[in-house]
């Protein structure tokens, strides 16, 4: 993982930024799909009802909290695994 020149590092950073935008768009898209699917089932009107917008808003909050929580867990688990792998490799 180490030993990148500054130019390589810059190239990598650019790609990672692109990846993050893409990643964010996927997460956002899944969130829209999920919350719409869970909250909207009435097609007698073409405007979201108060009940539907309320449900969507709560769904978004819950999804964000979920993502933040799973992000923390993931980081912890990943750090633990990486440490373990480096230990194995250095033997």
């Amino acid at each position: 993982m180490e030993g990148l020149t500054p130019a390589e590092q810059r190239e990598l950073d650019q790609r990672l930024q692109k990846r993050q935008v893409k990643e964010f768009m996927t997460v956002f898209g899944n969130l829209v799909d999920n919350c719409f699917n869970a909250c909207v089932d009435d097609f007698t009107s073409k405007v979201l009802s108060g009940r539907e917008t309320g449900c969507i808003s709560r769904c978004v909050i819950k999804s964000m909290t979920t993502q933040a929580r799973l992000g923390e867990r993931f980081a912890e688990l990943n750090a633990a695994m990486t440490a373990e792998m480096q230990q194995k490799m250095s033997r």
Partner: protein, 89 residues
């Protein structure tokens, strides 16, 4: 849809920004097709033509999906600014 507000964009950045914008739109379109087809179409396919009911349902679903997309986008921008959404990625 997402304003980035860069100072002086290069050629590649300008193209990437437009491409991205259009990608967001295209993805939203294909998600709408998926979601609204699932919500509105009779899956037995005994008929090849859309029934009146299915057609109306699709129109309303499209409008609601668009609205939902916008309110979620707005909400994320507000909450994201406050909470730092996406920091875990």
């Amino acid at each position: 849809m997402f304003g980035f507000g860069r100072p002086q964009p290069t050629s590649a950045e300008k193209i990437a920004a437009i491409e991205n914008e259009l990608k967001v739109v295209a993805e939203m379109h294909s998600r709408m097709i998926k979601v609204c087809s699932a919500k509105c179409l009779d899956k037995t396919y005994r008929e090849g033509e859309l029934s009146k009911g299915e057609a109306v349902c699709l129109d309303r679903c499209a409008a609601k999906f668009f609205e939902a997309h916008q309110i979620i986008s707005d909400q994320l921008q507000k909450e994201g600014a406050a909470r730092g959404f996406g920091g875990g990625m």
